[in-house]
Structures are given as C-alpha cells and as structure tokens.
Chain length 244, copies 2
DNA sequence: TCGTGTGAAGACGTTCACAGCT
DNA sequence: AGCTGTGAACGTCTTCACACGA
C-alpha cells in the first residue's frame, strides 16, 4: 500500500526528530501537509546547488550561504526544509552530504525514470540529446513522430517510432511521463491519446492549453510566452527608471 | 519622456472609461498600479486564444468561454482585464477583435523585437529555428558561439558569429534581450558580459542561478527542473489516489 | 435574464522576529 | 555568539458574492 514511498524508508533519517506521518505520500512532509508547488521547484534548485557543493568537497553549509547560492532568502530556505523535518545543527549549519541525500529523496530522484518524447521536430530533436535530463536522473527512452523516417541530419541514440507504436510502447514499458513537442494543432489530440494509454504527466512544449482529466498533471513550457514576459518587464523597468 | 508608451496612445481605446494615469509605464493600468507577474503571463495566454478565435471568425465572447479556453476561472479573467480598464458589454461579453487589440497593446506586441542567442549547441540550434517566437513578434537576429564554425548539419537563416563580436553587435543594434543557451559553467560569465554591453533581459536556459544587478530581468527556463517537478507531482497524485 | 465589473473575504506564500539549541 | 526552527504578521493573488448595466 505504501509502495511508492518505500525507497524513502530504507535508511532512517537521523536528524528528523518529528518522524513522518504515515497516511499519505506526504509522510515525507512532517504532517499530512500538502507541499506548495513553488517549494518543490526551489527544492530542485537547492538539490543542484548541494550536489555541486558536495562534489567540490564542501562539508558544512549555513542556510545563509546556500540561500545566496540558490538566489533566495535564507528564511525561505529554512521554511522550505521545515516541511520535511529538521536537518540542521544550530550554530553550525547543515551537513552537505546529508542534506543532499535528503532533498534528493524527497524529490524521488533515486531511480532514473524513463520518459517518451512525441514530435521529433527541431525542438524535439534537441531535447532528445539534452544532457540536463540525464544529470537529473531522467532519460528519454524512445521518440515518436508521424514521419519517423524524415531526414534529421543528427545522431541521436534513441529510436524514433511511428505514432502507431506509441500506445503499445507506453503500456508495455509502463511509461508515465511524456514530453510533448508536436505542432500546436496536434497537441490536444495527441495528449488525449497518451492519457488513454497510461500517461499521467505531460511536459508540454506546444503552445496550446491542454484540457486533461484531473488525474493527469501538465507542466507547460511556453517559450514564446517567456520571451513576451521578459519583454514586458524590461520595458516597464526601463520606463520606471527613466522617470526617477 | 514617455516614449516607450507612445505606441499605446496611437488609437484611443473607446471602451476604456477610466482612462489611464500618466505618471508611469503602468498608465496601461487604470491606476499607477503594479501588474502582478502571473497576470502578465495569463495575458499572453489570453492573447493567443483570442488571436485564434478571431482568425476563426468569432465575433463575440463571454469571459466564461474565453476562460475555459485558456484554462482559468472566469472571475480571474475578468479581474485580470480589470487592471487595464473595462472592455466588455454586460449581458453580452467581449468583442473579440477589440479585446485582441487591447491585450496585444498591453503586452507591447506591436513592433517585432530583435533578440540574440548565445550558445549554439543542440538547444540553441533548435531555438534558432523555433517558429513560435516569430508568431509572437520576436525574431532572433544573430547567434554567437565560442566555435561559430562547428559543423551543425542544419539550415538556419541567422548568422553565427564568434563570441568576440557580441559586444559590438548588441551595442550597435541596441539589442536588449538575449537568449542564453551556454553550458552551465559558462552561463554566469557570459551573462555578466552581456549585461556590461547593454542587455537588460535574459531568457536563461542554462541550469544555473544567475546573479545579476537589479536593472536586469532574468526568466529561467529549466527543463530538467520542470521534469523533476512533474515527476514529483504525479508520484504524489498516484499515491494519494491509491489511498482513497 | 445574462454577463461584466468589483469590493470583500479567503487562501496561499513569504518575511519577520525571536526562541532555543550547540 | 552563531545559526537553526517556527509562530505570527504581512503581503499577494484568487475566489466569492453580488451590484449593476445591456
């Protein structure tokens, strides 16, 4: 019944005084609490900083130092960690190795997860060879495209299958996550197809608002909107400053 | 003095009863108010939906309908628009064409903006030919790389210059926005260089927390973190459901 | 009646201030 | 003295409830 959490129990966390509740996935959290999305996002950033610092041989670290490294306030960092327990030593800071392990465990970054990619255009092709995913414990095991054979002038290690294979593939390999890089017009239908066959998480690069059932999570990465946003805020900033 | 806002005055907005304040960029807003970032983000989504609906020939639209299309609640949509004025007709809804114009104007999506791209690796190369930017009124006018000549097996329309050209290029073309796709190790130094020569907005794809001065805006697009996030939340959701 | 516009209430997340441990 | 952990205060964004105009 608690299988998805098992790995997290293998080694008890010594520093975690108030041990975890039992009745939810968030036993990772001290209580049955829901963890806010921004917290999880920052946790990923902390993890990256921690990994790097650990590999540089750093032993111990204050919340102040890690926070600056990660671009947040130290109180926020401490509050974020407080969702999961007490891991620091007052007057001293955190043990880098230990904290790295803990944060990694919270995020479930233990075993590497297989994902598929749909739509091998420019962007899809680039993502297939993006190294950042692997560093974070993910790997794209296969790609799918309406035209799997189109010339792509690029060496990728993953196979590109026709769309008709996708349902069988994700079912027999129990894939849960898909990266969606189709043209906007095809995104909704493709998403529906994926969901019908067991996908529950979609990283959506298509500039389309996907309508999905409740049990499915979508993370949108909308490149044009990010640029538009940036443009708006620098315009605004420029002006505000020119007034002073 | 108000030059960045000029274009917004060319045509008076008939429906905007409470006309704009004058003393800030946010005269776009009804008062001198600051517009929250999430509002701007959603505005971009609305704009996309509106453009599409308009091109499909739709004349009029209720907040309910547009909200569903954009994946938000209708009250939120109305509140978002309320920052800028009153554009609807009670009992009827919004005029699609008019609202499209207004939202586009707020976002400053009038004249197309030139941006540069730094780091022509896999991802950079893909972004150079990404169509979504152009659709939103941006275009990448040049790219820069330490090794501009490396074989890339791909037709791109933009020139790739060596890094030593970058300062001159952004200065003489008055570029304000850069897309940063360098390896993580080079990101901070590259950012500093760009900023020194006039860049004030960075769309950062490198998995690095950039330290920048206050007058610079950074938007991070961290692909690995998005995946990690997704993974966390589907794990959680799966478990929560299995408990019920 | 239908749908917008908006003050008020509510939920959520961040920051402060300081208590408490080492 | 130094630094963590945390309740309380604060600010921000979202949602509600309903007034108002077409």
């Amino acid at each position: 019944m608690r299988s998805p959490c098992q790995q997290l129990r293998e080694t008890p966390l010594p520093a975690s005084g108030k041990a975890a509740g039992d009745s939810s996935f968030d036993h990772l959290a001290k209580n049955g609490e829901d963890i806010p999305k921004p917290v999880i996002y920052r946790l990923s950033i902390y993890l990256r900083c921690l990994t790097q610092l650990r590999d540089e041989g750093r032993q111990t670290l204050s919340s102040e130092a890690l926070a600056e490294y990660a671009g947040v306030k130290s109180t926020q960092l401490r509050k974020d960690l407080a969702y999961f327990g007490q891991f620091g030593t007052r007057g001293l800071g955190y043990n880098v190795t230990q904290l790295t392990t803990i944060v990694g465990r919270v995020l479930g970054t233990k075993k590497s997860r297989s994902v598929v990619l749909i739509g091998v255009g420019n962007l899809g092709l680039a993502l297939l060879s993006y190294q950042g995913f692997r560093r974070e414990g993910f790997h794209i095991s296969a790609a799918f495209d309406l035209v799997p054979q189109k010339p792509r002038n690029k060496f990728i290690t993953q196979p590109v299958f026709p769309m008709s294979f996708v349902s069988h593939y994700i079912q027999s390999n129990r894939i849960r996550i898909a990266i969606l890089c189709t043209p906007p017009g095809a995104a909704q239908d493709t998403a529906a197809l994926l969901i019908r066959h067991g996908i529950t998480g979609i990283l959506n690069f298509a500039p389309t608002v996907l309508q999905v059932p409740d049990h499915v999570t979508v993370n949108n990465v909308d490149l044009a909107i990010e640029l538009e946003n940036l443009s708006y805020f620098i315009q605004k900033k420029t002006f505000t400053e020119s007034v002073r």
